[in-house]
């Protein structure tokens, strides 16, 4: 079987059949021009081409997309974002409007069909005072149909403070009946809960996000200084972090918020709360950022940038930080629900946001005693919304973290 022939070393340009696309040198004489042997000899598929030019964010998005739960949560989050931006549009009443006579109206259930046709309506309510307890008893009057429509006219407001309009998402068809639609009932002061909820969403979610942003800024800067420069700055900042982390959070929060003067306007209180929440929240992120900087300092690509002559600022901003921005965003998203729950709890105790400001916690204050709850259980709905918001943020944050961290699985 051996058909060995004497030394058949081929000069260049031999007759051994070659693949036409192959430009690589023939054994054994290698060429001296810039070698082409770095070429991919396999034709690259379109899929591979797409992947090869995909930036990290694109890859993260592709991975995130596969997670159905996270995608669904993102949709809900986007909806909540819309509510944050345009609460007046979603509301049906002016949230401040009080009328003690309209207290504790129950939820008017929406009937979708009217004589077989799709024509949503809510029944009217009629109030009667109970002769014994002198409480107002509300009875739904099915005969009185208040038809609903989208983009109904209602109280006028300025969209984003700029555009004057009076349209709302949902309202009564007949403008005269606009005042009779209580989608989530009223509280003890006769305020429409649905409208208050939309405004509360705005306050509660923005407090959460702003305090997280503050934490991130603080954490990045201090953690970065700590990790990149080391030495004394590192020592001081680390001891500060340890100090802050060893303080019991709940008493500190309670003390700080209780110390806020009662005379402060809601806006001032708002900003004070965000700062108080951020003061404790930056420490965890700072530690992580420091760790990243410490390990990144040893990476070859950072040394390569230094050897090119790049300034330290450029190295930090353009070379180091981009490698973990996706991680920061993921952890921040997971930190927001913590802030939301904290603010809700503080306000619920009367220490955070106070009336006339509206937040979920403030709304839940109304549901503090059993008697009220027995009478008007719908006052707890803000709690459900808190749960929904926290759940949604956590799912999105988890999905982001899994998508951003390729080593998690």
């Amino acid at each position: 079987m051996d058909r060995v022939e004497p030394n058949r070393i081929q000069p260049e340009g031999s007759q051994i059949p070659r693949n036409a696309e192959d430009e690589s040198p023939v054994l054994p004489v290698p060429p001296l021009e810039p070698t082409r042997s770095g070429e991919e000899l396999l034709s690259i598929t379109q899929e591979e081409e797409r992947i090869s030019i995909a930036s990290n964010w694109t890859l993260v998005w592709w991975r995130f997309r596969k997670n159905k739960l996270s995608m669904a949560s993102t949709v809900i989050l986007l909806f909540l974002a819309l509510v944050v931006l345009f609460p007046e549009f979603f509301a049906t009443f002016d949230p401040e409007q009080t009328d003690a006579r309209l207290a504790f109206i129950p939820i008017q259930s929406i009937h979708w069909l009217d004589e077989g046709r799709l024509r949503p309506w809510v029944p009217g309510v009629a109030g009667k005072r109970d002769p014994v307890t002198l409480k107002m008893l509300w009875v739904t009057d099915e005969s009185q149909k208040i038809y609903l429509r989208f983009f109904a006219p209602g109280f006028s407001y300025k969209l984003l403070g700029l555009i004057e309009t009076d349209r709302h998402l949902v309202g009564a068809v007949d403008p005269e009946q606009a005042e009779l639609v209580y989608l989530l009932g009223t509280d003890r002061l006769g305020r429409d809960q649905w409208s208050r909820l939309t405004f509360a969403t705005r306050i509660s979610m923005t407090i959460g996000m702003i305090s997280v942003i503050l934490s991130v800024v603080l954490g990045l800067v201090l953690g970065g200084i700590s990790g990149y420069f080391g030495g004394w700055a590192d020592m001081i900042i680390q001891r500060l972090i340890e100090l802050l982390q060893s303080l019991p959070t709940i008493p500190i929060w309670l003390a700080l918020t209780a110390a806020l003067p009662r005379t402060w306007s809601p806006e001032k209180v708002f900003f004070a709360i965000t700062i108080i929440l951020a003061l404790r929240g930056w420490t965890t992120l700072a530690r992580e950022v420091r760790g990243r900087f410490l390990s990144l300092r040893e990476e070859d690509f950072v040394l390569a940038a230094e050897l090119s002559g790049a300034s330290q600022a450029r190295i930090i901003l353009k070379h180091m930080i981009p490698t973990f921005t996706s991680h920061i965003i993921a952890t921040s998203t997971l930190a927001i629900p913590v802030m939301i729950v904290t603010e809700t709890s503080l306000s619920f105790l009367g220490l955070g946001m106070r009336p006339p400001a509206i937040s979920w916690g403030v709304m839940l204050q109304e549901a503090q005693n059993i008697q009220t709850l027995a009478l008007a259980p719908w006052l707890l709905i803000p709690g459900l919304i808190v749960i929904l918001a926290v759940l949604v943020f956590n799912l999105v944050g988890d999905g982001l973290r899994d998508a951003a961290d390729p080593y998690s699985n």
């Binding site: 079987m1 051996d2 058909r3 060995v4 022939e5 030394n7 058949r8 070393i9 051994i16 059949p17 070659r18 693949n19 192959d22 690589s24 040198p25 023939v26 054994l27 054994p28 004489v29 290698p30 070698t35 042997s37 770095g38 070429e39 991919e40 000899l41 396999l42 598929t45 591979e48 596969k66």
Partner: protein, 369 residues
């Protein structure tokens, strides 16, 4: 019941004394991932005879490590043996050299089964690549070796300790009585490597699988370890499957060589045949492209064109064809050549050597006399 380490003799009462100790037949192990299926090992066959060293050589992606894991049934959860047989001449009593044997197909055993756990450590032992990672940092090395001994041998704790000390001495660790109570991070690189070898040998396995045992250590320490392995192998007549990418080490250690590429065997045969008379274009090109301390300085090396394909994109037909200078269109990309015998014990997987091939054979690498 033996309590000390003694050389293993071949059992003459076994009906299969001329059979290989380990026979791998057409082993296929695939990784099933979201992005697709990776055919990491796709039809690998070779034999390991008692007392012989088989060197498996290949570059990244060739599947040599996955083959080893498949044999020991320690594959990743996402991987599975799809087909093939791995037959071991297993002793009923692993510590008794005169024990009766039975043929066991390792692929049929569940990774967590008692049977495979009995085999691991006492009949087939692994010398892993990274000794630091292989030892637990919170247990002394003696502790870990004794654990293996107590698992497979019917001895008391004191006896196990003595066995561990003896095996430490046999791998050349000085002051074994003290060293046995050291933690792995207290030992230097070379000592750790010896300790790992000691742990592998502690239960007198007939087959050692060494997975790149010298890649992470210095060249002078490597020379010591290779010498040690050679000596131990001769003393105990242990078979070794030596996995590496270093052709120099293969030439020094192996009796037989298996050359793998992208999950398949390209060529296998006695070490002399592979180095002096390589037939497969890949083997030939590989041998020519490595720098050696004996070659002339600053002479350009002949290279293999292109780079190793991504395992997801394995080429159709012969996996090497896109880089092969003897590529035959329509033949090499159409189907896979099986292993073709070109000499006694020397097999090549290349269409150039199939009986129907009309191409002239490529020149052997035999030195002109």
């Amino acid at each position: 019941m033996s309590t000390s380490v003694e050389p293993v003799t071949q059992s003459n009462t076994a009906p299969w004394s001329h059979e290989p100790l380990l026979k791998v037949e057409d082993l296929k192990a695939y990784f099933f991932m979201d992005e697709g299926t990776v055919k990491a090992v796709d039809g690998v066959s070779f034999d390991v005879f008692p007392g012989k060293v088989v060197g498996i050589v290949g570059e990244s992606g060739c599947g040599k490590s996955v083959t080893m894991k498949a044999i020991l049934q320690i594959l990743d959860p996402s991987a599975r043996i799809v087909s093939g047989k791995v037959t071991l001449r297993s002793r009923l009593n692993s510590q008794d050299p005169n024990s009766l044997e039975e043929l066991v197909d390792l692929t049929r055993l569940h990774p967590n089964s008692r049977k495979i756990r009995k085999i691991r450590g006492s009949e087939i032992a692994l010398i892993p690549q990274e000794p630091m990672a292989a030892f637990s940092p919170v247990h002394t090395v003696g502790n870990q070796i004794m654990e293996t001994i107590l698992l497979h041998q019917d001895v008391s704790k004191q006896q196990a300790r003595q066995i561990a000390i003896d095996v430490f001495r046999s791998v050349g660790i000085s002051m074994p009585e003290q060293r046995i109570d050291a933690y792995s991070w207290e030992l230097s690189g070379g000592l750790r490597q010896r300790a790992i070898i000691a742990m592998a040998l502690s239960c007198n396995p007939r087959l050692l699988i060494a997975d790149e045992p010298t890649t992470a250590i210095d060249v002078t320490t490597q020379a010591q370890i290779l010498k040690l392995l050679r000596r131990l192998q001769e003393e105990r007549q242990t078979s070794i499957i030596f996995i590496t990418h270093d052709l120099g080490v293969i030439a020094q250690m192996a009796d037989e060589v298996v050359v793998m590429y992208l999950g398949m065997v390209m060529e296998k045969g006695p070490v002399q045949a592979i180095f002096k008379n390589a037939r497969h274009p890949y083997t030939q090109a590989l041998l020519r492209s490595i720098p050696s301390v004996q070659s002339t300085p600053r002479l350009k090396l002949p290279t293999i064109a292109g780079s190793i394909a991504h395992p997801f994109n394995r080429p159709a037909g012969c996996p090497f064809h896109p880089r092969c200078t003897h590529f035959m269109r329509g033949v090499c990309d159409a189907s896979q050549p099986g292993l073709i015998r070109v000499a006694e014990d020397h097999f090549v997987s290349c269409f150039l050597y199939s009986p129907e091939s009309t191409q002239p054979a490529i020149p052997s690498t035999e030195k002109s006399l």
